[in-house]
Symmetry: D2
């Protein structure tokens, strides 16, 4: 699924005493690094004074020890990992956002996508507001600030702002006195909280970040819920909780989230194994070995193997030293570059009929090269299994699905034989979109969002012209495919 | 005068064709580096699309070749050098500021200080505005944007905004179509423009930056003038030109500006030589040699030598490799550190009666060490001459004069004998504040601002509580003296 | 096995035409990164002129695009990855070594350890030789150079030098005209060669590097063989081939080499799976799931699962973003730090009896923490299986096995019950050292080296006092355990 | 003289107690930075253990605080600044050199050039010696090491080695127990020592480095002298002292050394002022102002002004922020680039007849551009004065004078009218080579070396073919002029 952009991750801590909260956020963001790798930031609340640092880069590149030292001690802190589509030089969209308003300071970290952002922004601008960035987060900050004029407290202002904001948002807001966690009424993106033995509250996009800082998972923030953390207390405001059907993004389970995370009570690894098992039932193949594409195809491969009885094998070695600084010198073609990252373990596939499981098949370019690798290592047959259904529609809730004309499923009209021929496989199978609810223990179809798989949008979708917010220059578009591929190699 | 913070520099180019405008701004900012060394930035206007880069650091550290390459070609660009009092990690105050508003984008680069910034900000916040930074520049951007709602053009909005903004501002504003240069009605800070042979207009804080990019100086922007550059044309709007007395900062001539710059028709070097000559008349000394403290005391030293007939000598060698990365290891005391930067040329001072000229004497700590150096090299007498008068008052127009209790002139009650004893000199002289007008060719005293020397403020001064805009944490204050000293060593 | 230091990797290319040989070596070293992560280097032979670059750091940190560009084109190049025990500031031991001698230049890249290095060095020094480094490689360079005086060719000099040098060495030598691959008569360390479609010869420590550059594996260099590559020809000199029993290091199969490499005709992954299968036979356990410690315990875990019939499960998620720059802020204890790198997939182990397979157990500190992780995730029983036998003796052939007093097997007198109690496991099993030959297809025990497992040394072992070559300062020794642990976390 | 390469600088400290010797060397090298800017290094002697760090770059770029921290405390340390003609990636020539030999370790830092290096190296190689670098320093290390076999002490070995080594060398040798300063019998390069109040001995290429570390100058090391520092004692060995005529390089006074240094009892600044005064007598001009090209033309300009009675003026402002990272974007021609670095102070030269003093005129390209600058600022006449005589011959003692065909004096056959026309001046004058002795207080002509000015070589000159030691690739030669010019701009 590496051709789909990762989304953002948020993390916060609210303690009763001064401590190294920046260090805790560092560990938390590091555990959430898979959710966004372009930029990151931390804001420390030191008794009402905010100290912040944001930059492009991975958590452990941006937050060197001297940088962490300048952030100092505090009683609260929030952080953010971001995937950005703008050029590397532009740090103005990095989060958390820190703004000053009539009641003081406020910091925001946001994961999601607002569907009426254009309308809200237009309205604000007509009143003379200025925007420093093109991000939804700044729009949210404005709507809260405007609401605040008439409200006695920040949480009231947030509740009122939620009346105006539509779409997907899991939000951390920090005021001089409080840390507030907010999840939109549909609950598109995950958000949970936990507690550490020292009494600190921890909020994170995924539970794996709680584990990383030694906190115990308490529960998910409910869709529509506003949780206010202050000192050692937590207050839940549930005015917006029941107003919309709950719609957790199914693709969080299939690709985004880390396998060891638990979202709405379901372990991601288990959901993926079930996806593999469902594929084995849906597309039984007479084969000798099941292998997964590392890292995100491995869980489903084990599920397929267990269900089918075909032995699970280690099919690939992934070079673990590939990182951001990897360059690709020379006139090598792309097939060679895949080989830099992945190499086949010959014995596993040689003279075998192979089931090759990946998390998804989007454009088909990467899987085509991987099928070639497996064949050139001597496999007799290669059967590709995608644990995600076919992508057919755009996502408006924070996932950068490729445009329709690039989706192999659309190009081939959904014809499996044609797709298999295109990617060079003997056969191909996609998880049936009607089977998705089984991943989550027979959750009703209204309980999750699978709009990108053609299951319908739970909200109105944006109509406004977003083009004027677009900062990417058009020449860059041509380079996009190349850059995405390079990113895949480095990931 | 190294104990006084430098101010900002602005630079812009408006061409009729696409070209490497970022490269031109790079050279221009480099020539204005002495006006601000903490951060810098460039915004390129590529047919209405803005590409920008800002970071902490010197121009040639921030703008590496890859960074300049990402800025690409354009028909206009503006840039800014900034001296910032906030911590090194905080880039949010770096300029030019780029904002989005209802009519599109706008970039601003500002040199100066707004005296009613607090009131304006308070008023804006009460209407729900949010601020990302603590800078005056954001306030200016807001006031212009609000005015724009009722105005047909950006220049009209600027003219209207000037009714509201009080204080010192030399401003470059860039819209998708125009570059606009603005100088406040008092004209506290310099701003001039020139033209290059390719027809491009260049605007810069000082004329030395015009020289650096091969442009010919045309004239200074007049106090209160708004000049609009678009394509190959320039339009002057003079509504605010005559409304206030003109008040160019005299300290620009004495310390800030580069000696090769021409401000309001007067060459800085010449003004400094005159200051030296005036000192020679005011404080005649029976001496053998006149030496200047490099670099900014040299001009006045030559002037003193010429007027007095005492030979000019080269008194010091300054280590030219001192830079930002210079560290000061070990348990050395400060006297040793001065020796790292400056060394006396013994032959020049040995057994001599020495006149030692510096641009100013603020706290007195640095000059004390320099006098020691000269004495330890064998000087028989050391007479200190300061080409700036005694500092006695705060500046509200963009210069960070030290607080009163640190000023040696205040500590010693203006008693020259006491000051001389404190710094270890045989005698000391400060240029008489009543002689300042002679530096500028007998300009009337109303023609310049010398408020910091006790000559009275040309405007109302701020009364509002600025403390909530203060981001510097209090512990850092203790380190301030040390850091300033380190900065002096590196400069 | 992360508590055992990795060894070095060598890579070379000899082409018939000028090309981007540095780029090829870059890819090759990148594929061999697991063999040494402290420093790396490349030497390009451009028609007899040598251009080289060496530095501390990973391949993709050291070889940025500008650095590769300065190396330029050539017809030959060799490279080296190194694990260094000296401080990070000391680059003088980085390889390849380039020396000038009476016949011109010579570059050497070496993997191994010379047992009579001390004697050779002493003898050379008594004749007035000077040494720039403490490495064996410089000794080898000297012995070849001295031999060269009486020899007509570099290969003759190498053959003669092999009479004097004892121990483990897989060597690449580059002269202005030739690239020469050498493997010691025992053949302790692997070395193989292949060919690319453009006719270039490739030599590499492991076959995975041939795959990475698109070369086909031809065969291993034989123990004692000297292969001379020049232009499009290859010549094999076999004078030393049969003089000693062949002794490939068994630990290359168990830990060092990449699973996709083929050494002496045996695939590493397969050998590890066999180790797992043998463990299942040797230590049958009544359990519910078999999990491996990523990455090097996974192969054997699959083997154990297959043989035992107990299901294989994915037990851990490893944070793939851990890298060299990862810092560990705060006062966290070590248990927390393990959690930063590894997290348990709860569903896999909860309420289960778990077989936990790792590649080896050396000090026991890391496995103790992992067992705790698994238990805290709810495992009912944890049975540890080590696919390497118990370490009992030092290695003199290039592996930095820990000192005896730190080995848990030695501390516990080889008592499995005691070891299990120490690491907190319900039981523990180590592969029987008498079963090792089965990993390699019933190879006779004389066919490999397992000296570190108490199977006897194939050569005389060093007696000389090596202390004077030691550059590590003694205070550092105290920090060693900490640093090793940090390294494990980053790896 | 910026078209002539700077030479090296050495610095050492020998204390009686453990202290931050690396910090002292850091300050010392920083004061000697003008003698070499390509690479630098420090070796600390911690009770016989050597810790070293060397890299390309300026002292304050290479020696960051963490690097200095790794060097730790010691009782002795030596350091080196180097100008290197090889590519930036090649650090193998960086000094001090550290070697291991039969009696232990030895570190060397060398300033100079050995004229029989080729013969010595050839002889050593024929005995099987290998060389890691192309530097003379490694040859010296070998000759000392070979001599050591038959000598009881390191100082005896050095005395014996001096019988074999011919040419220019100011040397610091550090053994586990001693620091030894050596100056060749001709005494081409300066070397002096001093003492600090804590009893430490300091040795440095120039006395300005003694000042920088708070040491008092004691005296110059005599030509041929070997001074042994150990603990608190110093021993002078003078066997080689009287064997050759003393020949201090006159160009040290004219350009290399810092004006505040004292060499053989003469202050450099004073020598330069005398050069200016001599020029005024030799080439009297009817002019209005005397200006110097910063920085190294200023001293002589003052001397010219004093002698002639023509007023001294400040002619230029040099941008002090130019540094290593300065890039020159865009298609600007060179004339523009000079303007980036230097700007004329118009008032000083406008409508004036100007005497323009520079330290030397080599190729003439830079002075041509500077004359243009002065003319374009309105000067009526420009008379150029070079305080160095015409360069006519190569230097074999450590100065990289340009090749004959590039020297403007040679191109124009020494015809002053022709040279003036070439550089665009109204007239030009060079200090008469027969007047050089007057700079040093009527020293006899045998007392200094002025071989490069056509005054004859004091030693035999090299005949051997040095080409095989040449690592610079030929394509680079084409870029040389450009690089030199860039270097000038940055300097």
């Amino acid at each position: 699924m590496h051709e789909i952009k990762e989304e953002c991750g948020v993390f916060g801590i609210c303690s009763t005493q001064m401590q190294d909260v920046a260090g805790t956020v560092y560990y938390g963001l590091f555990a959430l690094q898979h959710r966004g790798q372009e930029s990151c930031g931390i804001v420390v609340n030191d008794d009402g004074l905010f100290r912040s640092y944001r930059d492009n880069g991975l958590v452990n590149d941006v937050f060197t020890r001297p940088v962490l030292d300048t952030l100092g001690q505090g009683s609260m802190a929030i952080g953010h990992n971001r995937y950005s589509t703008t050029g590397s030089g532009d740090r103005s969209n990095a989060q958390p956002l820190v703004v000053n308003h009539h009641k003081g300071r406020m910091a925001l970290a946001h994961n999601g996508n607002i569907v009426n952002a254009y309308e809200l922004r237009k309205e604000l601008e007509m009143n003379g507001s200025i925007f420093h960035s093109t991000s939804d987060t700044e729009v949210i900050a404005y709507v809260i600030t405007k609401a605040r004029i008439a409200c006695g407290s920040i949480e009231e202002a947030i509740l009122r702002a939620m009346d105006r904001i539509e779409g997907a948002y899991s939000l951390l807001v920090m005021s001089p006195q409080k840390m507030i966690a907010v999840r939109d009424p549909h609950g598109f993106r995950p958000l949970c909280y936990g507690r550490r033995e020292d009494g600190s509250f921890i909020v994170a996009s995924e539970s794996c970040a709680l584990d990383a800082v030694g906190a115990s998972y308490v529960r998910d923030i409910e869709p529509g819920e506003v949780m206010v953390f202050q000192g050692g207390r937590v207050t839940s405001l549930q005015q917006h909780c029941k107003e919309k059907p709950h719609r957790i993004c199914i693709f969080e389970y299939l690709y985004f989230a880390r396998p060891d995370s638990i979202i709405e009570g379901k372990e991601v690894h288990t959901a993926r194994r079930k996806a593999g098992a469902l594929l084995a039932m849906q597309y039984p193949v007479d084969a000798d070995v099941v292998i997964g594409v590392p890292d995100s195809g491995l869980d489903a491969a084990i599920g397929y193997a267990e269900q089918s009885g075909i032995p699970y094998g280690m099919g690939f070695i992934k070079n673990k030293y590939i990182g951001r600084t990897f360059i690709a010198p020379g006139q090598k073609n792309r097939e060679d570059k895949v080989r830099i990252k992945l190499n086949v373990i010959r014995h596993t596939v040689k003279d075998k009929r192979v089931v090759l499981v990946d998390d998804s098949v989007v454009r088909g370019t990467t899987i085509t090269r991987i099928v070639e690798l497996v064949r050139s290592a001597g496999a007799r047959e290669v059967h590709v299994m995608s644990s995600a259904p076919m992508f057919t529609d755009a996502c408006y809730y924070g996932v950068d699905v490729d445009s329709k004309e690039n989706l192999i499923a659309c190009q081939c009209g959904g014809d499996l034989v044609k797709i298999a021929a295109t990617v060079g496989a003997d056969s191909i199978g996609y998880l049936d979109r009607d089977a998705l609810h089984m991943l989550l223990g027979n959750k009703p179809k209204e309980g999750y969002c699978a709009a990108c798989f053609g299951c319908g949008y739970p909200t109105a979708v944006p109509t406004g012209d977003k083009s004027r917010f677009e900062t990417r220059i058009s020449e860059e578009d041509a380079q996009k495919a190349d850059e995405d591929y390079e990113r895949y190699l480095r990931d």
